[in-house]
């Protein structure tokens, strides 16, 4: 496991910056809503879904109904179905790590794991597990820090959360380098922008996933033919 952690750590540094900061923000907001560090720890270990945890603070503050909470979670997190679908094959052999790998599949962990291979000589399952665990550690630590520090931060770190989109842009550039992936990248960008434009920022992600699925199937021949050229 130590080898896997060593191989995984440099890869997770951008996520570290993003998660520590977003986690910190979550801890602060949760604290302001009247829920202390114990709650932050419970939510960041038990739910572990960035955007949804921010929504959950509102649910807690309003004392929302359980059905309403369930529906809200379904809406905000349905995109995770697509991550699981994509990773299912690669997690097939993961044995005792499988439940944790499935549980910890956040946007960022998915992006890292679906687009990278374990380095030579490192067991793939352990590498997946190491990336997943490190990422969750950053998130939990950030939440706890935010909860303890409240608003008194020694530095103004506003904007460090931009490491997340920056990481995704870098991964997009890397995909673009592989000619066989280019058409898929374009279809994804198009579907996302189209749905964002039509449906707005709050509701576009799941329709965009569905549109991506449809477009990939529709253009299957072209997508696959790109593979021969590469």
């Amino acid at each position: 496991m130590r080898g896997a952690l060593k191989a995984a750590f440099p890869l997770t540094l951008p996520v570290m910056a993003g998660y520590m900061f977003l986690g910190l923000g979550f801890g602060v907001v949760l604290n302001q809503a009247g829920f202390g560090a114990g709650w932050a720890l419970l939510m960041s270990t038990g739910i572990y879904a960035g955007a949804m945890q921010y929504v959950a603070v509102d649910l807690l503050a309003q004392g929302a109904g359980l059905i309403q909470s369930a529906l809200m979670t379904l809406m905000v997190n349905s995109r995770h179905l697509f991550y699981g679908l994509t990773m299912a094959r690669r997690y097939a052999d993961s044995g005792r790590w499988k439940p944790y790998l499935a549980f910890s599949l956040t946007d960022e962990t998915f992006a890292l794991l679906s687009l990278t291979k374990a380095p030579e000589g490192v067991c793939e399952t352990r590498f997946f597990a190491a990336v997943s665990m490190l990422n969750q550690c950053y998130w939990v630590l950030g939440s706890l820090l935010g909860s303890f520090l409240g608003q008194v931060l020694p530095f103004d770190l506003t904007g460090i959360e931009f490491s997340m989109p920056a990481l995704f842009v870098v991964m997009l550039v890397e995909q673009w380098r592989q000619k066989k992936a280019r058409l898929s990248v374009l279809l994804g960008l198009f579907a996302a922008l189209f749905c964002l434009f039509i449906l707005g920022a709050e509701r576009f992600s799941v329709p965009a996933m569905l549109l991506i699925t449809g477009l990939l199937l529709l253009f299957k021949k072209q997508v696959l033919s790109g593979e021969d050229k590469a």
């Binding site: 946007d107 842009v169 996302a192 996933m209």
Partner: protein, 105 residues
Amino acid sequence: MKSFLIILVVALVTALLRFLPVYLLGRKDQKLPENVLYLTRFMPAAIIGLLVIFSLKGTNLSSWPHGIPEMAGVLLAAALQHYKKNTLLSVFSATALYMILIRVL
């Protein structure tokens, strides 16, 4: 108690969404339809574009600075990665530029 139950429900629904596909489609001996296998191969490349847009969806274009810091950060990250191929350099330079721009603009 109510708060605890809300957290439990959110956690269970989130976990369900994550577990379902992994356990339904993730047995090794299982024969999957060809289209599903095809999708799992090309989905990651397609979803990365969506994640870029998703992570920038909070950008406010209608008032000053009209998304200039975001745009500059994205361009710097892409250009550095294209020429230098160093992920950490690209991510941290772009983040630093963004942090400076949102303060000075």
